[in-house]
Structures are given as structure tokens and as C-alpha cells.
Amino acid sequence: MSERTTSPGAEVLDPPPSLSGSAERPFSFPDRAAKHWLLSAIFWLTVVDLFGLVLATEFVAPEAFGGISWLSFSRIRPAHVSGVILAWLTMMYFGALFYMLPRLVGTRGLWSERLGVWCAWAWNVMYLLGIIGLLTGHSQGREYGEFIWPIDIALLVIWLACVVNILATVSLRTIRPIYVSVWFFIASPIWLAVDYAIGNVIWRPGNIWGAPSGALGGSLSDAMLNWWYAHNLFGLWLTPMLIAITYYMVPRITNTPLYSYTLSLISFWGMAFLYTGVGDHHILQSPTPSWLKTIAEVSSWALLIPVFAFTINILGTMKGNWDKFFTNLPLRFTLTAFFFYFLVNIQGAFEAIQPFNKLQHFTNFVVAHAHLALLGAFTILGMGVIDYIVAQVYKRPLWSRTLTEWQYWLVTVGFTGFFSVLTLAGFQQGFSWAEGIPEVNVLPQLHAYYIARGIFGAMIVLSGIVQIGNVVMTIFTDTNERRRRETLKVAEAVAPPLPG
């Protein structure tokens, strides 16, 4: 198993030849596309966080927004869910991908930085229109596939442009062997494009401004397709990208080669084969075929194989590097996300078996689980990635480490509280329902949980805002100059200039 190379960098290929011909000139990556995607992502994070806060508020006080139709719970929730996945996380992932890919395959940038920038803008506009649609009641009414048909098509066109950009960049590579992360960078966007097209039934536009549209004719067939698709948003896009980015961040920051190549193979192919079939575990209690439920249950457990492979690989890479966990903030974000990612998979496996599913199905336990993945794992990773990449592309330290610490602790404590509260609320609901207490009678019992959820949620929103502040100040302040002054001050304190 252990193929750890003892001499990192021994076989590193030559740096790519300079385009201008003057090999001596210091080269720097353009990273224009990465900047656009990442900075949009930070903005969307706060928007979708605020959507979440509106929802949390409405759980405590349903009249809080006094009948403004576009702030109605039922419209905001799809906007919140799709916003987290397609605006915040997807933009962050593409940003990270466009930053990492040239560095991994040895090109001087993307195949087309300009296309990357255009895609970022197009994506922002597409998403904004999609959200406006949802908030004004233009929705297909399929969970995770709410966007109306024209938005679906726009999304796919932009997505395919990104795929082309990625593949063209890979084909220009100067480092022939492609690193583990790149496998996912190639496969995952393609998977998602196909998943999105099939899952949204784009060949049946129906009523393109609302429902019924983008759905199969039969209700149960549509449900099976819907949940297969919805779970693959996580299984084939969000999760593989988390793995790819972690495979970049951890070796890069710790300056350590990846622990095992074989384990990465297992995590890649395991993901490809086992994640695609778990979707039906969302509807284990529904009148759908039992054999499909069995496949979903078995795949959900078998999924632990690639998860453990990934876990061992990262822990192996971290061996001897744990001091950096405490000193390097992007790494701390990454590993915190990695821990929550491990947890969400274990939890998910148990949720996917009938006896436990019976208890927690339809309760807030599921909501807690979803946030463990999307907030605990993907979002915390994304925050670390942005802190890391912003410092790299602007070539200056972040404006304030204290703010970054605040950002970390706000999101970590906020999320942990949020998760715990919702899990407890889920048990409260599950056990109450099992006793035959109807839903509406359980609501007053949940009030305290809902208040706590709102408070923890506010911490998470605050964390995103802290990051925006920190990033903006980094962009507009010459932090290098400040650091030089500070270093000088320390140096002078230690060794004052000689008199005279």
C-alpha cells in the first residue's frame, strides 16, 4: 500500500516553457477565471446563508416577514437549497478547479481564461434569474430540480463550456501523468452534466415557466428519477470535488506527497460505481420497488469503502504534519471539513437502513444530515479554499489572521450547535410520531430547538460576512508592505540598529 516517495520532488518535470521566450522572467499564473468564480462564490455564500436565516426565523415566527410573497417559506427554501449547491458551492468549486488545474497539469493557465471569466458572469446571471423565478413562483416543483426549463438549458450550456475549458486545458498539459485531483476534475463535471440533463428530464419541457415541466409522466417513476438525480448532485459533484480539493490542499500545504496511489484509485472508482445508485434511499418508505431500495441500502453501506480509502489516504498524508493543523488556517478548515465529511458518511450509512430510517425519515434529523454534508463538509472546506487561494492569487497574506480565526470559530461552533440542535429535534419528532402524536402537536415542543437553530445559524451567516470583509480588505490593502513593516519592527526590537 505504501508507495510513499521518500524524495519529494525528485522526478518533478521541468517547468513549462515560457510563452514569451524569456525563460528568466518570473512567471505568474493569470488566475482570472478563478478570481471571478471565487469572488462570486463568497458573495453567494452570504446570500444563501441569509435565505437560510429567513427560513430559521420563519420556523420561530411564521409571520416575521408579514406576507411578502417572495419571502414565503415555501419559495425561499428551494432558493436556499439550490443556491447552496449551484451558486455557492459550484462557483467555489469551479474557482478552485480553475486555480488548481493549471498548476497540476503544468500549463500557463486555462485553455481560455476569457471563457472561464465569461462563464462566471453567465453563471451569475443565470443563477440570479433562476432565483427570481423561484421567488416569484416559477418552479418545476421537483426537489433539487426546481429551476424552470430555460434556466436548466442555460445552466447546461455554461456547464458544458466549463467542461470544454477543463478538457482542453488537460489536453495541453506538460506533465503527462495526471494527478488524482485531476481525475475528479475531468470526470466529475461530466458526470454532473449528464446527471443534471437526465435528472431534470430536459427533453420534456412541458410548461416551460412552471409545472408540470421537466418531469416523467408517472409519479413514482419521476420520484425514483428525482431522488437518483438529487443524491448524485452530492455523489457525483459535491463529494468528488471535496475529495479532489482535499487531495490538493493537504499535500500542498503540508508539503508532503500523497500517502497512497492505490487508495486514491479505490476512492475514485468506488465513488464512480457505488455513489450513483444510492439515491433511492430517500424514498425507502414509499411504495417503490423493494429491489431498488435494497440496491440503495447496500450501495449506501458499500460507499464506506471509498470513504475509508480517502480517509486513510489523508490521515496517512497528515502523519507527522499535525502541527500545521494548528498553525495553518486553510489546512485547519480543510481538515475540519474532512472530519465532518467522514462523519456524514457514517451517519448516512445508518440512515439508509430500514429500521433507523423508519424512525428519522421526514424529521429534522435528515435536515441535520444534509447540513452536515453541505455546511459542515463542503462549506467549511470552501471557506478554507477561498482563504488559501485569495492569498495565493493576490500574492499577499490575508488582511487579518484574527478575522480568519473568528471566521473559523464562528462557522465551526455555529455549525456544530446547529447540527446538534436539529439532530435532537429530529429525535423528538421521530419518537413523538412513533407514539402516534400528530405533526402539529409536536410543533410546540420544537420551538426551543428552532430558536437555538436560528442563533447558531446567525453565527454561520456572520462567519461568511467576516470572510467577505477579510477578503475585500486583502484585495484593497497592500498587506505585503504591512508585513514588511511589522517584520522590520520585530527585527529592530530584537536587534536595534547600531547607533551612529
Binding site: R4, V12, L13, P26, P62, E63, G67, S72, F73, S74, R103, S139, Q140, G141, E143, V170, I175, R176, V182, I186, A187, I190, W191, D195, G210, A211, G217, G218, S219, S221, D222, M224, N226, W228, P251, T256, P257, L265, F268, A272, F273, G279, Q285, P287, L292, I295, T327, K358, F362, T363, A391, Q392, K395, P397, R401, G436, P438, E439, V440, L443
Partner: protein, 474 residues
């Protein structure tokens, strides 16, 4: 090491410290990752998507019905506005218990989702509110209108967003049609029972139809028009009302003692559940009242509360337990404990003495004991004969429409036949069964015809003729 995280990486083509992969092990090329990944993907897609969709096609269940055009419009509005995020669309095996009969009378079957008007799926992932797959017919339309306008108008505990700003008057009628006809034949039967009862109750009390859409929000609370009524002379005026209460409750007293604790608990429950319609003063002028016909009961009249033939403790208990079909009074049988219902009944009888005022603890001295009137006792005597009073036949009632009639008019004996207070409309179990059947068949035929006109996928015509079943009929 405070600045370790902001260290700027050296920009070379290959990341420093990158482990180069040994070439002989480089099994993954971009082609393998891309095409191999897709191959793996499609293999699984074939098994978990293509196969089930092409092999799983359950026939329509006996209970299945198509949706009318209006209901389809309502269903689309339901989907477009995200109602499914809090209301699931199927009842699971573990939902169906006796205690929750009113919510989940049956487990959803694969055949209940037959047909092409059921797209997109609305199965849902989370329940904040109840499942709605079996909702049809439990509440009359006027209750639904008030509830959609602002759910707190009829259920102060609800967390549901108010729909007043989401839907127009026409749209909300479509949504209501969808909710009232989505539960298959058993739901249509219940809804037909509601509609027939509504006809009986409004005719009997001289009420005009309730305002439609959200018009109720701006209209006055309806009042019954006694002038157009001419109750038959030899008949107890409350007789039609009593027909909707099981006879066993007509003369029953409250089993709980009139104590301060019981009254206080009754007040608490009243404030939690009842004030939306019956008002914070108990005068029947709550915010939901203007949507309703008949208007909600006024409990402030000391005289009425002690003398009416259908205002005994047992009558109140039965109406809270099972609801009053035809009025907006819904059943609380699965939400309140038996003792809590009796406590509310105790408390209601103290309202004329201003016990609903803030910081007032209702005391036993405020309680107004109910005495059956002479007329009531005489009426009961005249009706309590063995002949035609109860069915002692061995053969059980199998006609679903008669069963539904017995369910909405539990106080009617098989031989009972009298006129409503308008002096001309007859009321008997047979009339009710025929009326309910006519409404049911009208609803069903309209839905079938409209589905056929839409070109929907329909089962064989014989499915339509299978009579509705009453799941879990007690």
C-alpha cells in the same frame, strides 16, 4: 508560526513537494477518467434508473381517481410554490395508526400514483406539517379558504406561511379543489359527505354560501337568516343538529368534576386551538369567522348555552372529537386527549361569565350547568322507540354511501325521517346516502371526462365503477 497559512507558494509549474507518480502505475489517463467514469456511471444508471422506470408500472389501485382540470391547475400551483417542502405526498406504513385515523386512514399504494396527471412527483422529504395524501374531505372548503389565507386563523399552533400574498382568488380555489380531491375515491367520498352536510347545515340554519377565494377576508361575518326558516311544528328545532351527533352523547354529562384546574386547562387549550374562529372573546368573531358559513358558534350567550337542545356537554364533546361535517368545525380527536376535550367542554360553559378575559382564572362558580329542556326530553322520548330506531339486522351495511351518510349523520336512526328547519328539505339516512352518491358520482365523472379530454393515461373504464372503500371505518 502565526503567518504560516499566508505563506505564498513558489510559483513553479509543478507544485513543490508533489509526489510524481511512478509511470508504470499510471493507469489513469484523461481518457480513462472521463470515458471510464462515464461507463461506470451509465452501468449504474441502467440498473437504478432505466430498469425500474421501464419495469415498474403498477396498475391503478381500486382507490385511484384522475384529477379534474381545476385540480390539475391546483396541483401545479402546489408544486410551483413549494408546498411539498413541508407536506409529504404519501402516507407510510408507520403513519397508519388508530390514533391518527383522521390524518392517515390508509397506507399509500403504488397504484394510487397511476396516471399522467400526477407529474411531477410530490412525495416530499420532510414534514413540518402533516402529510396531505389523505387530506381530502376532512375539512370543508370554507375552512380551507380561511386556513390558506392565514393558517393561524383556524389553527393558532400552525407554522405554515400565510398564502394570502401567494395566490389570487381563482388560484386558491384551484388549490383547494386539488387538496379536496387528491385522495382517490375514499377522499372523494369524504368530500361528498362534507358537501352534502354543508348543504344540510346551511339550509337548516338559513345561511348563504360562504364567500369564495379570499373574499372572506374582506366580508362581514355571516348571520343565519331565521326569517326564511319555518321549522315543522311538531319537530324539535334542534333535531337536524342532533342528527349530526351520536345519540349516545345527547344527554351525557361531563365526566370530569368542575374544578379550577380542569377549567384552567380547558382555557389553555381553548386559547391554543379555538380562538382563530371562535374569537379571543369566545363570541364566534375570530379572524377566521368571516370566511365561514355557517359562522362559528358564539359561546357568550348565557341563555343559549344553557338551554339549547344541542348544547349539552356530550354534544360539545362529540363535535370537538369528530368535528361537525358541513360546518368549519374540524375534528380534534387525534390532537387532543379525551380528558382535554372534556375540560374544554367544561370551560366553554364558563365563557358567558367573562372567564376568557386576560389573567382571569375560571372558577367553578362561573360554570353554567346545562339542563335538558322539556322539549328535548319529550323529543327524545318520542324518538327512543325500538322500532326503526337502530338496525339489528345481521347483515352489515356494505353500501359505502350509506356508510358515509351514517358517518356524517351519526344521530340518525335508520327509520328517522324529518324535515330541515326550512320546512321542506327532507333529512334521512336514505336521502343523505342518495345525495352523497350523486355528488360523488358527479365529482368522479367530471374528473374522468376532463382527464379523457386532456388525453391522460387512464385505466380501463371498469376501474371507475368499483365502489369507493372506506379505509379503516370504525
Amino acid at each position: 508560526m502565526a503567518d504560516d497559512d499566508t505563506r505564498i507558494e513558489e510559483e513553479t509549474g509543478t507544485p513543490r513537494g508533489w509526489s510524481p507518480h511512478p509511470h508504470e502505475r499510471m493507469l489513469i489517463t484523461p481518457l480513462v477518467a472521463g470515458l471510464g467514469g462515464l461507463l461506470a456511471f451509465f452501468t449504474v444508471v441502467f440498473i437504478v434508473v432505466w430498469l425500474p422506470i421501464h419495469t415498474f408500472d403498477p396498475p391503478a389501485s381500486y382507490d385511484w381517481t384522475p384529477l379534474s382540470d381545476s385540480a390539475v391547475k391546483g396541483r401545479n400551483l402546489f408544486a410551483e410554490n413549494g408546498c411539498y417542502v413541508c407536506h409529504s405526498g404519501y402516507s407510510r406504513p408507520q403513519d397508519v395508526r388508530e390514533a391518527l385515523y383522521f390524518l392517515y386512514p390508509k397506507v399509500s399504494q403504488p397504484g394510487d400514483f397511476y396516471g399522467s396527471d400526477q407529474s411531477p412527483n410530490l412525495l416530499g422529504t420532510e414534514r413540518t406539517g402533516p402529510d396531505l395524501s389523505q387530506e381530502s374531505g376532512w375539512h370543508p372548503d370554507d375552512w380551507q379558504r380561511a386556513h390558506f389565507y392565514d393558517p393561524r386563523f383556524v389553527d393558532p399552533l400552525s407554522l405554515m406561511p400565510a398564502m394570502k400574498s401567494l395566490f389570487s382568488d381563482t388560484q386558491i380555489e384551484h388549490v383547494i379543489t386539488y387538496v379536496e380531491t387528491r385522495s382517490g375515491k375514499s377522499g372523494l367520498l369524504r368530500y361528498a359527505g362534507q358537501l352534502y352536510s354543508k348543504h344540510v347545515v346551511t339550509t337548516n340554519q338559513g345561511f348563504t354560501p360562504a364567500p369564495t377565494g379570499f373574499e372572506g377576508a374582506h366580508s362581514k361575518i355571516l348571520e343565519g337568516n331565521d326569517k326564511i326558516l319555518s321549522p315543522p311544528k311538531d319537530q324539535l328545532e334542534e333535531a337536524p343538529n342532533l342528527a349530526q351527533i351520536d345519540r349516545g352523547y345527547w344527554l351525557s354529562g361531563d365526566p370530569l368534576p368542575v374544578t379550577e384546574q380542569n377549567l384552567l386547562r380547558g382555557k389553555e387549550v381553548f386559547l391554543q386551538r379555538c380562538v382563530g374562529c371562535h374569537g379571543i372573546a369566545g363570541d364566534g368573531k375570530g379572524p377566521g369567522a368571516s370566511f365561514m358559513s355557517p359562522a362559528p358558534a358564539d359561546f357568550t350567550d348565557a341563555d343559549d348555552a344553557c338551554c339549547g337542545g344541542d348544547t349539552g356537554p356530550g354534544d360539545f364533546y362529540y363535535r370537538i372529537l369528530r368535528g361537525w361535517p358541513g360546518t368549519a368545525m374540524e375534528n380534534f380527536g387525534d390532537r387532543l386527549s379525551v380528558n382535554d376535550i372534556w375540560r374544554v367542554v367544561l370551560f366553554v360553559k364558563t365563557i358567558p361569565n367573562h372567564t376568557l378575559r386576560k389573567n382571569v382564572v375560571p372558577e367553578p362558580k362561573d360554570y353554567i350547568a346545562w339542563q335538558p329542556s322539556k322539549e328535548l326530553v319529550a323529543w327524545l322520548k318520542s324518538r327512543q322507540q325500538l322500532t326503526d330506531n337502530a338496525s339489528f339486522a345481521k347483515k352489515q351495511v356494505t353500501d359505502p354511501f350509506l356508510k358515509e351518510a351514517m358517518s356524517v349523520f351519526p344521530g340518525l336512526a335508520p327509520g328517522d325521517k324529518f324535515l330541515l328547519n326550512d320546512g321542506k328539505t327532507p333529512l334521512s339516512l336514505k336521502d343523505a346516502a342518495a345525495g352523497i352518491k350523486a355528488i360523488y358520482e358527479d365529482l368522479l365523472n367530471r374528473a374522468w371526462n376532463e382527464a379523457r379530454a386532456r388525453g391522460d393515461k387512464l385505466p380501463d373504464e371498469s376501474q371507475k365503477l368499483i365502489p369507493p372503500t372506506v379505509p379503516g371505518q370504525q
